[in-house]
């Protein structure tokens, strides 16, 4: 019950931050050099055409009026209409967010498991060769340009070995997958479409691998540092000095204490992964949310930029909220 109250309170506290984000992006996109109308009309448009287009998108209104209209739309759940495609921004997000979510969730899940297992192992073998190896690997991962890593995986996995499909699209169109959520692997599983499942999985492996490698590295370092701190901490030494069994020590005195220190750091790493997602989607032509938002930004598509910034900010703060709840669950000292 306390947790529910905490979550509600925190969500309410988000409103001013998100409102700040809305105001800021609204103003910023309008001072961006570049003009959305120019980009859709092309170089041969007359000033009259431009003015007509401007009026169609409400861009001839005073800025305060534009903002109030936008805000009014937000309250009713209307995110506006894309200047580029002329379709509803809300509908486009619905179409694009599923694939991105699938990619991110899978990558984070893989990264979390690997980071915890390897990090704790590394800390328990601190300052031996294995530990040094793990640390150096993590440092390399930490220094990895994800877009380049994606290219190298494509080079090796597709161009040289031919094991994986070409980096365009998320599923083979011949498999006739019925889209439900937009997350192809999930849709394939839900519609019991075996060939589509296989194809979606094959398409997923390289981007998931790319994303999880760059996410696992900082996470692994944090887990190792945290576990090492616990191993040197007084409570752990005390438990060792009282002769507790290795299993009891690991489960009761090391794991939870290690993880209790991590949620906020993990949230930060996950947040960073949103940035990496844009690049990874670009490299693999994933046609997800990140690529869509990027194009919006490049073409100065105001409603798209505003909406995508809002969605990203919202995801980011929600991740931190989840982290705080996880922290409270793991660490009894944290009051919420």
């Amino acid at each position: 019950m306390r947790i529910v109250r905490f979550v509600v309170r925190r969500l309410l506290q988000l409103i001013p931050v998100l409102l700040g984000v809305v105001v800021l992006t609204f103003l910023l996109v309008r001072v961006l050099p570049g003009d959305p109308i120019r980009t859709i009309l092309g170089p041969n448009a007359t000033p009259e055409d431009a003015a007509a287009a401007r009026a169609r998108y409400g861009l001839d209104q005073p800025i305060v009026k534009q903002f109030l209209d936008y805000l009014g739309g937000l309250v009713t759940g209307d995110l506006g209409t894309s200047i580029q495609s002329g379709t509803s921004v809300g509908a486009e997000i619905g179409l694009r967010i599923g694939p991105t979510f699938e990619l991110v969730v899978l990558a984070l899940a893989v990264a979390l498991v690997v980071a915890v297992l390897l990090g704790v192992w590394s800390a328990r073998h601190a300052d031996r060769a294995g530990d040094h190896g793990v640390r150096l690997t993590a440092l390399v991962g930490n220094s990895m340009p994800e877009f380049w890593l994606g290219l190298v995986l494509i080079l090796v996995g597709y161009s040289v070995l031919g094991w994986f499909p070409a980096p365009s699209g998320r599923v083979d169109p011949d498999t006739n997958l019925t889209p439900l959520t937009g997350a192809d692997l999930l849709d394939a599983a839900l519609t019991l479409n075996g060939p589509a499942f296989g194809s979606a999985l094959a398409h997923l492996i390289l981007p998931v691998a790319t994303l999880s490698i760059v996410v696992v590295a900082p996470l692994l370092r944090s887990v190792r540092a945290s576990a090492l701190e616990v191993l040197h901490s007084e409570p752990y030494v005390a438990a060792t000095a009282h002769g507790l069994r290795g299993r009891t020590l690991l489960r009761g005195y090391l794991l939870r204490a290690t993880l209790a220190r991590l949620p906020s750091l993990a949230a930060l790493v996950f947040g960073t992964s949103i940035g990496s997602t844009v690049l990874v989607e670009y490299v693999f032509s994933w046609q997800g949310f990140g690529q869509w938002a990027l194009r919006g930004l490049l073409y100065r598509d105001y409603p798209v930029v505003q909406a995508s910034v809002l969605v990203i900010a919202f995801c980011y703060v929600v991740v931190f909220l989840i982290a705080d709840v996880a922290q409270a669950v793991l660490d009894p000292r944290v009051q919420i």
């Binding site: 984000v21 300052d127 040197h232 844009v278 490049l298």
Partner: protein
């Protein structure tokens, strides 16, 4: 006398030294190669070989040429100037600005703290790279602008870091001792709080410089940072990316590898410093 029992010898510090030395050496090599690039190549960074584009590595071009017919090896060397220069300058600006803000917010507290931290909150409601994308799109892509982008997206983190540290230091007995000795606020800040609040900054800054290079390269890769024909690793990878599907590795793999190694230099240095700081704390 009975035999001696030896408990696992502590090797604290040796690995840290290895990390610091290796990291510094990598950075030194990359920096020197960039500065003295003309000594290692006959081609200019934007010089076009009229004889061919996408020439595979061979005698004339040790790493071949790219789609514009420019020598990859020579561009690889020259690119270090922009990459290192922008990242280091950007982080330096971020450190100075962030530290100043954090110091003021943390020590004064009250509404100054509230206002500054809310601004930081809004900045930090975005992943760094997304923020960099947005700001880069806003200010355009000159060298000075890119330094500003790197500084703007990183400064909030320093502000927060320093503020947290300042708030701890502010409560310490030696600050109380200084205040009760009649020292002025600026005196306390400058002489006691600041020097004792910088330890985490010193550790983070090198790591941050590495990430800043990745940010810069990422921006260039998407066309929002340095643009071809200027020599920059991210832009080179971008130019070479279509070749990958065709199995042409030399236009994109080498610049990425060099970028990776250079960032790794920063990471090794930062990790070593961190380990040393922790060893001191124990």
């Amino acid at each position: 006398m009975s035999e001696t029992v030896v408990v696992g010898a502590a090797r604290v510090g040796r690995f840290a030294t290895v990390l610091i030395v290796t990291g510094s050496a990598i950075l030194a090599v990359v920096a020197l190669a960039a500065i003295f690039a003309p000594l290692f190549t006959g081609w200019g960074p934007t010089e076009i070989d009229p004889l061919g584009t996408l020439v595979p590595p061979g005698p004339g071009h040790p790493l071949g040429t790219d789609a514009n017919g420019m020598d990859v090896w020579s561009r690889l060397l020259y690119a270090g100037r922009l990459d290192l220069g922008i990242a280091v300058a950007g982080v330096a600006v971020a450190v100075v600005a962030g530290t100043a803000l954090g110091l003021v917010a943390g020590y004064l507290g009250g509404w100054v703290d509230d206002v500054l931290m809310r601004v930081v909150d809004i900045f930090q409601a975005f992943p760094t790279f997304i923020l960099a994308l947005a700001v880069a799109a806003l200010v355009g892509n000159g060298t000075g602008n890119l330094i500003a982008v790197i500084a703007a997206v990183n400064a909030p983190a320093y502000a927060r870091l320093v503020r947290a540290e300042v708030r701890t230091v502010r409560e310490s007995a030696f600050v109380a001792a200084s205040v009760t000795s009649g020292a002025s606020t600026s005196g306390v800040l400058w002489r006691h709080v600041l020097p004792n609040s910088l330890t985490p900054v010193r550790v983070i800054a090198p790591l941050n410089a590495g990430w800043a290079m990745l940010t810069l390269a990422g921006l260039s890769f998407l066309g929002l940072g340095v643009t071809v024909p200027a020599a920059e690793w991210g832009a080179m990878i971008s130019l070479g990316s279509p070749d990958v599907v065709a199995g042409r590795w030399w236009t994109s793999v080498p610049p990425g590898l060099v970028l990776l190694i250079c960032v790794l230099g920063f990471s090794l240095l930062g990790e070593g410093l961190q380990e040393r700081a922790e060893a001191k704390r124990r």
